[in-house]
Amino acid sequence: MSSTPKTLFEKVWEQHVVAEPKGEPTLLYIDLQLVHEVTSPQAFEGLRLAGRKVRRPDRTIATIDHNVPTTIEGRLNIVDQISAKQISTLRQNCKDFGVELYDIDSREQGIVHVIGPELGITKPGMTIVCGDSHTSTHGAFGALAFGIGTSEVEHVLATQTLPQSKPTTFRIAVEGKLPQGVTAKDIILAIIGKIGTDGATGCVIEYAGSAIRSLSMEGRMTVCNMSIEAGARAGMIAPDETTFAYLKGRRFSPQGADWDKAVEEWKKLPSDPGAKYDRELVIDAATLAPYVSWGTSPGMVAPVTASVPDPAAAANEQDRKSFERALEYMDLKAGTPLSEVAIDRVFIGSCTNGRIEDLRAAAKIAAGHKVSSRVHAMVVPGSQQVKAQAIEEGLDKVFKEAGFDWREPGCSMCLGMNPDILSPGERCASTSNRNFEGRQGRGGRTHLVSPEMAAAAAIAGHFVDIRNWEVREEVTA
């Protein structure tokens, strides 16, 4: 039997085609929609106005993450009335339309892209959408997962489908062994720096190669999470034993005979040998270093050992203008070594780096050290389950003893819709995914880094090369 070799993406796509009307986008079936408070109110309102129902409440899951305060007192009494209204609106909508909600007081509440995988709701081969661009995170399991706008949220609620034009495919292979101190975050920052913030527009990226395969599920999620920062529609990684081991026994993972059947099906998903991609790129893992972003776009990154670049060296006039604007906003001078840039704040968390492994990595750096007296450093677990696990392992103590502020789960300072924001002019080492102007608070300056680099910066008061860090104490559970 000979059939054309297919990519992972093509296999998932083809299994979800409902209709292919001539001259129109393909109608794609959606296995799972994740819903949160910020991008859903207008969608539910639209359903109400049109007298429509949620077609598949069993394929819809909601949580509250974007604007929850991260202190216990703040959560009990949300001072911001508009936030409170948005949260109560989601509660009402979930009740009216029969959607399961992981509310603030749930033991499973957390950032939507952390709880989906953690509960075993995210599965290989699925199509997953959410009114949030970092939905690409779930691609780490070999799902086709992408962010959508509110009109599309309404469309999926009503029909469980989405009209989609077929994206192109882009295979990025990272080959070889990652040098010590280089993390999943550095892989993706390097990729964005290399291909640019619109480098993968219209594409689904498949990350492959030995360095990718060696990553844990947490690391793979970090990589897929920031696919959108390279302009991609989605990022995917083929499921393998690491994926199955992560999923086995989770609350909504298949059990018993269903599990065996599931694994058998999931094993058919990886791209066939000889499958064709529209574009390919190979990166040598040995050339990667810990990175720090220096500008106001995630493509503006450099190794921690480098200096702030000179706009005069930009490739073209448009880039030169945007580099100059970025340096002005960031208050940085060309030629300053990145390791001399002093910081005021540290944020460890978000759907990029707020998982248990990220907290372990940061705690390992922090153990036995003290946060610099001029820095305020926060650790915000990605979910209640991450928090509980961290406490069980004693990581909360490590952080608190080192002088970190240990918080309740949520998106927090990734986008500052809750009370956690930077003041104008403050400079932050952040494990989140966007360094746009004002993202973490008006006038705030964000530098994107890995959890290890963020923890080290908190202690030193400026960026340091994590490869030379002195690990003082072993963190044991």
Binding site: V18, A19, P21, G23, E24, L27, Y29, T39, P41, Q42, E45, A50, R52, D58, R59, T60, I61, D80, I82, S83, I121, K123, G125, M126, G131, D132, S133, G147, G149, T150, S151, E152, H155, T159, T161, P163, D198, T201, G202, G231, F252, P254, D258, K261, A262, S297, Q318, K321, S322, R325, L415, G416, M417, P424, R434, F436, E437, G438, R442, G443
Partner: protein, 203 residues
């Protein structure tokens, strides 16, 4: 959704690249639960100082461009967050067309759902329009969706590509859910078969 055929209007130049949706509509305005009323907050952090004073040299505050319904900007317009509020803010402010060399994917789709025409021209053509709109007072453009052209009255003329189906929906002002429900029978059939794939169930 309001149908779009042709439009002649003042053109507002926004000479910046990578204009992200956080800049188009900052997060503090995402907490509202309505679809309307975002126009006053468009480019909020660029048009006002933290003290609430208008930033004089920001283009929206320049009386010359008052009433413009066409925005011209640099590449990768609309990147970042998926917030449809960005499209709502542009449309609520009065923009019906954005011209740029490239647009980010999610924004592209959100704009279409709100009747905003996105015209992709080459970097050179966009540069010309940016220059003209900055230099020539009262500079107007005519955008024809039927012809897929952008023209001025001084001889500039450029064509843009648009997916035929998207064009049809914009011309007719069609709503997507209605279009999808034409396939209701296929959907029911697909869904029934798909249920057999237990490994793709959410719960």
């Amino acid at each position: 959704m309001e149908p779009f055929k042709t439009l002649t209007s003042l053109a507002m130049p926004l000479d910046r690249t990578n204009v992200d949706t956080d800049q188009i509509i900052p997060k503090q305005f995402l907490k509202r639960i309505e679809r309307t009323g975002y126009g006053d907050f468009l480019f909020f952090d660029w048009r006002q100082t933290p003290e609430g004073k208008p930033v004089a040299d920001f283009v929206i505050n320049n009386p010359r461009y008052k009433g413009a319904q066409i925005l011209v900007a640099g590449k990768n317009f609309g990147c970042g967050s998926s917030r449809e509020h960005a499209a709502w803010a542009l449309s609520d402010y009065g923009f019906r067309v954005v011209i740029a060399p490239t647009f980010a994917d999610i924004f592209f789709s959100n704009a279409g759902k709100n009747g905003i025409v996105l015209a992709r021209l080459t970097e050179g053509e966009v540069e010309t329009l940016l220059q003209n709109a900055q230099k020539i007072p009262g500079y107007k453009l005519t955008v024809s969706l039927e012809e897929q052209t952008v023209k001025d009255d001084r001889g500039f003329s450029a064509k843009f590509d648009i997916d035929p189906f998207r064009k049809f929906c914009l011309l007719e002002g069609l709503d997507d859910i209605g279009l999808t429900l034409r396939h209701a029978a296929e959907l029911d059939k697909f869904e029934q078969q798909h249920e057999a794939a237990t490994w793709l169930r959410a719960k």
